[in-house]
Amino acid sequence: MNIHEYQAKDIFRNAGIPIPAGDVATTAADAEAIARKFGGTVVVKAQVHAGGRGKAGGVKLAKNPTEAREIAEGILELTIKGFRVEKVLITPAADIATEAYVGIIVDRASKRAVFMVSPAGGIDIEEVAAATPDKIMRLPVDPRYGLLSYKAMQMGFFLYPDLKQARAAAKIMQQLYQAFITSGASLAEINPLVTTPGGDVQALDAKMVVDDNELDRRPDVAALRDESSEAPSEVDARNANLTFIKLDGNVGCVVNGAGLAMATMDLVKYYGGEPANFLDIGGSSNPEKVVSALRIITSDPSVKAILFNIFGGITRTDDVANGIVTATRQNPLTVPIVIRLTGTNEEIALKILQENGFSAMTDMDEAVKKAVALATGKAA
């Protein structure tokens, strides 16, 4: 789960990390009032779940409250990488001496949380990695000991030759690690971590991604979810316990299991079609999930054919068949449907489908070919 910059800043602040003040506005008038409160030049930043906000015009300086209102008005009308901007964060503009990067991610290879830090901050860390890889220090954290002081100091000295700043950075990294662990995050990032002309070390930006699997035991973190910043179909799918991602094609896919779902999409493409979505109904099945899946898929006007590909294991194919029957009774289909199912309770499923006027196939390739033909208007 993505959270907004202002939410991540609250978490980091609670962990003790020094972060300049900031307030969130949802209207231009609020933005103006906040800018007036802070006085002087402020930064207006779009709060959306997308990187590259600056390049997209979502981060701007405003020299006075009136300018803050105008700029906020403009930013609040933006859509960045598909995300509508609903909120802006207003912060006083800071004097910056140096910019560094500090991040933690869970790393597949070392099977640990890994710090990545660089004295070359303020820009995309991937660019630093590509251009000057020796300016990045990577340091895995043993979860059994946490971030030990000497490791934090190693990173502190990598960022700053000055002892006081190295110590300040080391402390911030220990606080960031605490925030990362106690939030159940899979990523936490400060970019830039700045020094002021006076020598203080401060976090000017904040980013955090929370592991969805942690949300059940962290209701306070789960409450940070901002559904207004997500696509309605994806919110709908999540509430129905489905995993759904909208794509640009015309073959709507309903599959059980992520791997099979991807292989099905690949096969659609192989046979000349374009998948309209990724949709995984997951392991445990029930007819309700199938009903929700069909509702979500049929609400996409570009879908010209629907393809079910179900390999029953834990998923009972009769549950899927019942779901199809129920959903199509509630909302009769306006596009053709191709159903492939095999595995657990296959005979029962086939019987249910036949009794309700559906036919079903058992071969995946044949089913995909047929769905593509129907979507493109060619005979299968």
Binding site: V106, R108, A109, K111, R112, A113, E126, D142, P143, R144, I181, G184, S186, D211, N213, E214, D216, R217, T243, I245, L247, V255, N256, G257, A258, G259, L260, A261, M262, A263, M265, D266, L267, V268, K269, Y270, P275, F278, D280, G283, S284, F311, G312, G313, I314, T315, T342, G343, T344, M364, D365
Partner: protein, 288 residues
């Protein structure tokens, strides 16, 4: 022969009285797996299906039954504890089916289990099956048949699909292993390839990967350097858009790393025949 499990596997089921645990315990018993005990705190002393003794703790269960493997079907928030309990009780082979285990829990579990010398398969995996000998997990037994092919996969139902097509084409399996798609899991492609290479009955191996990470690329290098047996590969997610999660945590593409194209190229460069479609696996195995 087979890898990891066979006729001598004596299995515990942790969470044997839960919804998934009880269903699959029955399935495994029907398949012929030697299920020697179950664990559900508070139900110690009872019997599952009138036959399998239930214990309060894994250590009691091991002491009483001599179990040498365990399969875990407990809710995600308790799965880490269950894996550590199993490792601490001295069980050398631990399979965790549970989906949704927090990845930070797994960073701890991984160290814990490794320090005790146990092998962990999963979490978020379908388990494994050595057709005709033993099944641990949830892979449907009826789609498998004994034979000379070893299969290792990051996926669940896609594995079934491949096994199903192989079985229809009369290509039986020594062992089919689903390693799971979570960012941190106990057993890797390389672990399985190594075991298949050492298994005299396995004549060829199928490796099924996904987008995300670079485990497949490393496995490909291992195949070139260490394996004498032919390997056929398939990668799911060629049409996945970059930077989006596709259903489970394993399937992330970040920038240029971990794309299907990259993985397929690594396969080809290291002598692994790449199937374009699942069904092509069968054809490539015939040629191998």
């Amino acid at each position: 022969m087979s890898i990891f499990i066979d006729n001598r596997t004596r299995l515990l089921v942790q969470g044997i009285t839960g919804r998934d645990g009880s269903f699959h315990a029955k399935q495994m018993i029907e398949y012929g797996t030697s299920v020697v005990g179950g664990v559900t705190p508070g139900k110690g002393g009872q019997k599952f299906e009138g036959a399998v003794p239930i214990f309060n703790t894994v250590s009691e269960a091991v002491a009483e039954t001599g179990a040498n493997a365990t399969v875990i079907y407990v809710p995600p928030m308790f799965a880490a504890d269950a894996m550590m309990e199993a490792a601490d009780a001295g069980i050398p082979f631990i399979v965790c089916i549970t989906e949704g285990v927090p990845v930070l829990d797994m960073t701890r579990v991984y160290s814990f289990v490794r320090d005790r010398g146990a092998r962990l398969l999963g979490p978020n995996c379908p388990g494994l099956i050595s057709p005709g000998k033993s099944k641990v997990g949830i892979i449907p037994g009826q789609i498998c048949t004994p034979g000379p092919i070893g299969l290792v996969s990051r996926s669940g139902t896609l594995t079934y699909e491949l096994v199903f097509q192989m079985t229809r084409a009369n290509m039986g399996q020594t062992t089919c292993v689903g390693i799971g798609g979570d960012p941190i899991n106990g057993t890797t492609f390389i672990d399985c390839l190594e075991a298949f290479e050492a298994d005299p009955d396995t004549k060829a191996v199928v490796m099924i990967g996904e987008i995300g990470g670079n485990d497949e690329q490393e496995a490909a290098r291992f195949v070139k350097e260490k394996m004498t047996k032919p390997v056929v590969g398939f990668i799911a997610g060629q049409t996945a858009p970059p930077g989006r999660r596709m259903g489970h945590a394993g399937a992330i593409i970040s920038g240029s790393a971990g794309t299907a194209a990259e993985k397929m190229q690594a396969f080809e460069e290291n002598g692994i025949a790449v199937a374009k479609r699942p069904i092509d696996v069968v054809q490539l195995l015939r040629q191998a």
